[in-house]
């Protein structure tokens, strides 16, 4: 199993192994095997998805039974016309822009470095990956303390070298970059491990051969490593973008979407409209719009992967 294989599990998985056609009669046992999964799937994924779609066309309220009045496309129109929808969407995209490039580039650079180190790789894996297994609440508590105005470690360190430190989480302009730094610390290890695995797939002989040809390390990276990593890179980028779009925890805990809504993400907007304002019909419509965005990103990914496959 390699990362690049799962990058496109779908076509392979189906076409790979057509088992020899057998006489009918396996339908019943197959149903038995599929039932537990499909039952839960229908009850808790497909069903709610459909229910959410229906609800998005109604003025459904959290605290009233039933769907309430039919709204037609009213909820969608309201969302699309409201700055309250567009600004969280922009914040989410802004967060994605702030986090994705460093999370990819830095992880790649560190993985390239680690690939060259022969000893103590476990230590680097530990240092970079341990934050990733922490719950968001733990990460948030630690970083809120690091960012605390007047007392935080970051401000103290900056003051010592003669710089003034902004109010990291309290200043509307700085809050999002601060959350991005926290996220970088938290999730870098995941990409690091993915890249490291991708690097180990690169045949050693290629390096040896190019060394014989007199290629320096930088040339090796450019002409061998990066091209070989193409698919892993696409995978990491897409996973990263989708994960960033789904951001909620850091904002919810560290800034509650503030100051002045400067860090409210789309998911928090769904949460606010549905669970604070009880407007779950509207919140469903916003969820659907958000789903479309994620779907669009995934579609772009498919397109890129297909092109890469053709090139190979």
């Amino acid at each position: 199993m390699t990362a690049s294989q799962t990058a496109l599990p779908t076509r392979q998985a189906i076409d790979d192994d057509p088992p020899p056609p057998r006489p009918r009669g396996q339908g019943l046992p197959a149903a038995g095997f599929l039932t537990p999964f499909l039952l839960l799937y229908v009850l808790f994924i497909a069903g709610p998805a459909l229910y959410g779609l229906v609800m998005s066309f109604f003025d459904t309220s959290m605290v009233k039974p039933g769907l309430s009045g039919f709204a037609g496309f009213g909820n969608y129109a309201e969302a699309l016309q409201s700055a309250d929808f567009w600004s969280p969407l922009w914040h989410t995209i802004w967060f994605t822009i702030l986090t994705t490039p460093p999370l990819i580039v830095l992880a790649l650079v560190l993985a390239l470095l680690a690939d060259r180190v022969k000893h103590g790789r476990w230590f680097f894996r530990l240092a970079f990956f341990v934050p990733y297994v922490l719950p968001s609440a733990v990460v948030a508590l630690i970083w809120m303390w690091l960012y605390t105005p007047g007392l935080g470690l970051i401000e103290t360190a900056l003051t010592k070298i003669g710089l003034t430190s902004p109010n990291w989480l309290g200043d509307p302009g700085w809050a999002m970059p601060s959350l991005a730094v926290t996220t970088l610390w938290w999730t870098l290890g995941f990409n690091f491990v993915l890249f490291l695995a991708g690097l180990q797939e690169v045949p050693r002989e290629l390096y040896e051969a190019s060394s014989m040809d007199g290629a320096g390390p930088w040339q090796q990276i450019r002409s061998i490593t990066l091209p070989m990593l193409g698919r892993t890179l696409t995978l990491v980028a897409v996973l990263q973008v989708i994960a960033s779009l789904k951001v909620f925890d850091q904002m919810y805990i560290m800034t509650s979407g503030g100051p002045n809504f400067a860090t409210r993400s789309v998911l928090q907007y769904v949460y606010d409209s549905g669970f604070t304002n009880f407007r779950i019909g509207y919140a469903s419509a916003v969820s659907m719009l958000f789903f479309l965005v994620v779907l669009a990103v995934s579609a772009v990914w498919f397109a890129i992967v297909r092109r890469q496959e053709k090139e190979v």
Binding site: M62, V63, K64, G69, S256, G258, P259, Y271, T276, F278
Partner: protein, 434 residues
């Protein structure tokens, strides 16, 4: 009891999993003698005083295991409270702002408190100040027991005001009850501090700009919403007048035009301003800072004969219980009564008690500066009715943003009124979800 359960759970991981499987909400196990859960949103000085009150309750009711939970202030608190109640696991008693209780009531999330039940614990209407009690009624029925009124007030630095000649011979602040007198006082204080006359929090503040504006606008007799929040009825002329007055103060450098909540506190605490405008709860902050200060009602700048000031009340409510019985209810009401009987502790935090037996006592009248502004509670103007209104709500957020831009000098009063009107209209047009 909690300890033994914990010890059991701490035993082994397997035991923990098993023990929790047992109480995974399938059988919550309610023993009326047992646990009383109480949710609140008090941090800072309020939180410390509440802890004292709860400790007193624990000492007096050893049979009851009081589980008090403090959750983050504002929307997160009310969201959690609503979801817990919807999910049939509400706390026995909870704190709610009076202006937020209205929405909870229309959503059917609070228990009605019947007069006969209240009477058993001496919680008759007559024992409460009229304003918060009546403001909390819905269709004449009671749901929320007010513990206080917290009006927007004026803090003043006594040293600075002395030097500025703003105190009378007895050391009390001279009345500032016209726009001219008020502005004059700000100027004199500024002359002393060499920085600012007064200060109010503006930046990133979802409530303070609304509080000061609403106080002035109500003094002019202005209303913002009508018909349960379905109509926006801002009075253009009055709103512009209030906003222009406020903008004049920051434009002339009498008040800072860009400062956040902590910054405003610091400005006043450092003697860079003679006046500070905020809810009375900040009393503890300045007492701790050992600042020479006093407090009085927010001045009646525009009101003439009739006083008005923005305010809210903390109330105690009983969220809808899945299986309420008489014993449970009585235990909860007794707890509420117990907290009311400690109104003195609560009043030390600045709040004007709603509990008449204490409010009318000589003991309270002797409390200074608290009793200076007790009368402000009679002029309390609560945020207008509407499902999106109340303390820390969308309503305050939207209006504060517009008012803040006027104070900061970024928007003209008329533009801010237009912005408020359009933002509020889109909220008002939204069908109420409750």
């Amino acid at each position: 009891m909690a300890l033994t359960r914990r010890a059991l759970l701490g035993g082994t991981a397997a035991a923990a999993a098993l023990g929790l499987a047992g109480c995974s909400g399938l059988t919550p196990g309610r023993d009326p003698g047992g646990t009383l859960s109480f949710w609140n949103l008090f941090g800072g000085g309020d939180g410390l005083r509440l802890t004292q009150m709860l400790d007193a309750y624990r000492a007096a009711n050893r049979g009851v295991n009081l589980e008090a939970v403090t959750l983050a202030w504002g929307n997160p608190y009310y969201t959690k409270l609503s979801l817990a109640t919807l999910g049939d696991k509400p706390p026995d008693v909870a704190v709610s702002h009076l202006t937020r209780a209205k929405t909870l009531i229309s959503a059917g999330l609070l228990e009605e408190l019947k007069p006969e039940d209240l009477a058993r614990h001496g919680l008759d209407a007559a024992n409460f100040t009229a304003r918060p009690w009546e403001a909390g009624l819905v269709d004449g029925k009671a749901y929320a027991i007010p513990i206080d009124t917290h009006p927007f007030v004026m803090f003043y630095n006594t040293d600075i005001c002395q030097k500025a000649g703003l105190l009378d011979t007895a050391g009390a602040l001279l009345p500032l009850d016209t726009p001219e007198k008020f502005t004059e006082a700000m100027k004199k204080a500024k002359d002393v501090t060499k920085a600012y006359g007064g200060v109010v929090a503006i930046d990133n503040d979802v409530a303070s700009p609304w509080r000061i504006y609403q106080s002035l606008y109500s003094q002019l007799g202005g209303e913002t919403l009508a018909d349960e929040g379905t109509k926006v009825v801002i009075d253009e002329a009055r709103a512009t007048q209030a906003l222009s007055f406020l903008q004049g103060l920051t434009r002339d450098g009498l008040m800072p035009g860009s400062i956040d909540y902590q910054g405003a506190i610091a400005t006043f605490a450092n003697g860079q301003s003679g006046f500070y405008f905020q809810g009375e709860w900040e009393i503890s902050t300045f007492q701790t800072a050992k600042l020479p200060f006093s407090m009085t009602s927010f001045p009646n700048i525009f009101g003439g004969g009739k006083y008005a000031v923005q305010a809210d009340s903390h109330t105690l409510v009983i969220p809808k219980q899945p299986d309420q019985d008489q014993a449970n209810l009585d235990r909860s009401l007794a707890f509420i009564r117990f907290l009311l009987d400690q109104s003195k502790t609560w009043a030390e935090g600045g709040h004007v008690p709603a509990w008449k037996p204490f409010l009318d006592s000589p003991e309270y009248k002797a409390m200074t500066p608290q009793s200076n502004y007790a009368a402000a509670a009679d002029g309390a103007v609560y945020d207008p009715d509407g499902w999106y209104s109340g303390s820390g709500s969308n309503f305050e957020i939207v209006t504060s943003a517009a008012i803040g831009s006027v104070l900061a000098g970024r928007a003209a009063p008329a533009a801010a009124v237009a912005q408020m009107r359009s933002d509020l209209t889109s909220l008002a047009k939204t069908a109420s979800p409750v």
